[in-house]
């Protein structure tokens, strides 16, 4: 099976698992894990979109050379965007964990059902 098919399937399955966990689980930590899985799935998807068959990494070493570069490399832009997205994802995860820690300190519970006051 071609690599782009494998990574497409991986990304879609990861996103679906993440979405299901995000919606169905009651534990805040597990919700955060589901969110991270969804995040990772999107990253793999974006990188896969930039993949070109049979091309190499966008690093101009001896294997690529300096001539006809655009014929030899995969798209570097999605990779640069994913680099940004990973860092933002990490920041969001850290923030969610900090909220979860504070919520646990306030009510001694990680079950989302115990936080009725937050509903609108």
């Amino acid at each position: 099976m071609a690599i782009e098919i494998i990574s497409l399937i991986t990304s879609f399955v990861l996103m679906l698992i993440g979405l299901y966990g995000l919606l169905s689980d009651k534990n805040i930590i597990k919700i955060i894990v589901g969110f991270s899985l969804f995040d990772t799935g999107t990253h793999i998807l974006i990188v896969t979109i930039g993949y070109l068959k049979g091309k190499t990494a966008p690093i101009l070493d001896n294997a690529v050379g300096l001539t006809d570069v655009s014929q030899k490399i995969v798209d570097p832009i999605p990779q640069a965007l994913v680099l940004t997205a990973i860092v933002i994802g990490l920041a969001v995860t850290a923030l969610m964990l900090a909220y979860a820690l504070k919520m646990y300190q306030a009510k001694k519970s990680l079950n989302i059902g115990d936080y009725k006051t937050l509903k609108w």
Binding site: A2, E4, L8, I9, F12, M15, L16, L19, Y20, L23, S24, Y51, L52, K53, A57, P58, I59, L60, D61, L66, V69, S70, I73, D75, P76, I77, Q79, A80, L83, T84, I86, V87, I88, L90, A91, V92, A94, L95, L97, A98, Y99, L101, K102, Y104, Q105, K108
Partner: protein
Amino acid sequence: MIRNFFILILVAAFATIFASLFLNYGSSETLTPLATYYAENGAAEVGAPNLVTSIVVTYRGFDTLGEVTILFVVASVIGFFLKKTKHNNEEPAKRESSEIIVTASKVLVPIIIVLGIYVFINGHLTPGGGFQGGSIVATAFIMLLMANPAFEINHRIVHAVESISGIGFVLMGVFGLLLAGGFLDNRFLPLGTFGNIFSAGAIPVIYSLIGLKVGSEMSNILSNFQAVQNEKM
């Protein structure tokens, strides 16, 4: 029950969308025009072999500045939320760290830090860069914290490194504006020999500053979590 039903419907709807995307997927054969421009002119204009780095640091430097800002805001918010409250008595750590971790941390921490520094200094030549290198440096601090739960990162040093590297990053951008083509232009330093470590203008400097900033911010976040963890709740 009804909730699970809705969740299943939503997941199935997403699965349908993904399936139709998957069935219509055809891998493209050529680069987009923008990517072609970066590929053809990146080496001459920026001088960095790693095209991802030249996009992240130079062509889309503003993105990176915003990204670093987001990380900074998150670190400050977490520092604000997880502030150590004086009136809470601290519980001692629940158990001793495993001897394996204690011994391994003595050997590995310097090596991990050196690897992180290597990764961000060589960001323009090899895969890697400031964010990756900074994260690797932060893992060394995780290891220290796991080996010795009472370990406290010196906040004054971390804050100084963070502020200086943040200001340095913006200053590099301003130098680019004054001495070269525009904000975050790397060509105010000589481009040097293509493929050398001192090449690609200001990119190694900028990426090292980003690496220091990311590393110190992540260590800061970690030590905030650590400080609150032992608090009596």
